[in-house]
Amino acid sequence: MEKFDKLTAVAAPLPMVNVDTDMIIPARFLKTIKRTGLSEGLFYALRHDKDGNPKDFVLDRPAYRSAQILIVGDNFGCGSSREHAPWALLDAGIRCVIGPSFADIFHNNCFKNGILPIVLPQEEIDKLMEDAERGANATLTVDLENQTIEGPDGGRITFDIDPWKKHCLLNGLDDVGQTLNKAAEIDSFENTQKARQPWLYA
């Protein structure tokens, strides 16, 4: 996983609430056995009309083509657990999503893919959304180490983050490798559980 420390990039506004993972990437794009190339399906229905012609979606406008940050509405990423949603975002260059709240599974999935999801109070989001709507001016600097976002006017916002998730993201850690180092603890858990609940091992 690519690590995340500091990112300076254009932020694109996506003010809708309850954006579900079917909207981020529709099911017909999930018939893949790879993690890459999924940006083709990203926000497909928002980006295309019935006949597949491009609509004027925010990420396709010149001012936001290089956006790496998304400012989003409440409950972003609700619905299906598909990790294809963060894969598609990543494939389109998005590394940071900032919103008032995220659905749990999507939130977790972002961290596993080097995407930083940041939760801020609605008032802060409203302001960032307004800034983002001003287009190319809305370049933000997100600093994970110091947990700050610097706005276009030099304003600075701080954010909270789970320390363990921060550590993994800053270092680009693969958790599977780390957990395998705990094999002894897992073995001992299994031995105890097997003695108490043998039917789980029948």
Partner: protein
Amino acid sequence: MSQPRTLFDKIWDSHVVDQQDDGTCLLYIDRHLVHEVTSPQAFEGLRMAGRKVRRPEATLAVPDHNVPTADRARGIEDEESRIQVNTLEQNCEEFGVPIFRMNDVRQGIVHIIGPEQGLTQPGMTIVCGDSHTSTHGAFGALAFGIGTSEVEHVLATQTLYQTHAKNMRITVDGPLPTGVTAKDLILAIIGKIGTAGGTGHVIEYAGQAIRDLSMEGRMTICNMSIEGGARAGLIAPDDTTIEYIKGRPYAPKGAAWEQAEAFWRSLPSDEGARYDKEVVLSADEIEPLVTWGTSPEDVLPISGAIPHPEDAPNENKATAIKRSLEYMGLTPGTRLQDVAVDKVFIGSCTNGRIEDLREVARVAEGRRVADSVYAMIVPGSGLVKEQAEAEGLDRIFREAGFDWREPGCSMCLAMNADKLNPGERCASTSNRNFEGRQGPGGRTHLMSPAMAAAAAISGHLSDVRELAC
């Protein structure tokens, strides 16, 4: 004496392998269910790192999302779907993971077959790369959906990193009125708490209306916990739970059964256990419900009318309503019962079990699907199909003009050939009415199996209680 604990706390505490300073826990996972869509990249990850599956015998795989529900003799025609299903089979072979293949009678939707086989048991931790894993919580198991990276983590280590969710209790007092089902109840709950109402929480469902439900009904409730934003849903195990599990293929047998049963009976929340959030509903206020919009919280009693955006509590909601109505092709003020449907879909992990099909048969018997409607019934598993046929339900369905199909996810998410065409309107027993969920441009109204059957027969949304069975 120790603090009174909730069912969730008890399961959590008994699965902690390791705890970090910030409270993040490494949690042991007892059962891992796998399907073809969210697993290929996880197996690929293992292969690239030269890792193996830690406990193949605690894992079960099944193809369900992509499988055709028409005649399977020809295999899978769509190339990408076929590759995904074949990849699952190859991965299972390579890593020694048990699998129910497409033509195995035990094949079906992953959340239907776990309980059906007795693999789902109280007190377990159960995960699957699928958000509706919450279904298994009906047995008093902590069951939740995970992403593909986590699937890989569980395959390799049989554990997951998790932070402790908060406890929420939803109590539904009193018995459900006649003609009102588990699906109406969960839609009422989501309508009340909203799609983010459970975020960060595990919901325990309690109260008489919940206790009175069969296991099938309880699964319908827990299934849609995710539509309320919760990490998982739970119902305490009781006689109903234990009766259901007894004798199933993977249930404990003999002396192990006695031991397991005693353990299961110790799981319900202790008297005085504390919840971070409590919601109480009264069952007698619940009517048969349908959704009108593109979020599962957009519910109304069937006697209602399409809402006006101006009546929304805030501007965000008004914009959302306007967008939904435009997508759904509906005008404010229209009576729900005047909304005509083109298709009816009965099935999915929410309502694809035998009891759901019996409910449909009760409404369909001796009646005909309206000429303007195409109605399909997709059983949740091969065994549900077999059971329905043994009871003669398939004959009732066929005589009434329903299309009786092979098991799978089907038009719940439209990954296989079963989908809505743009602009088509569907009465569906599934769990999501998101834009495009049942096919690009398709319009979904969620409801119970009985209500979907009533819509099939009358050709429009209608109150099953007025069809007088």
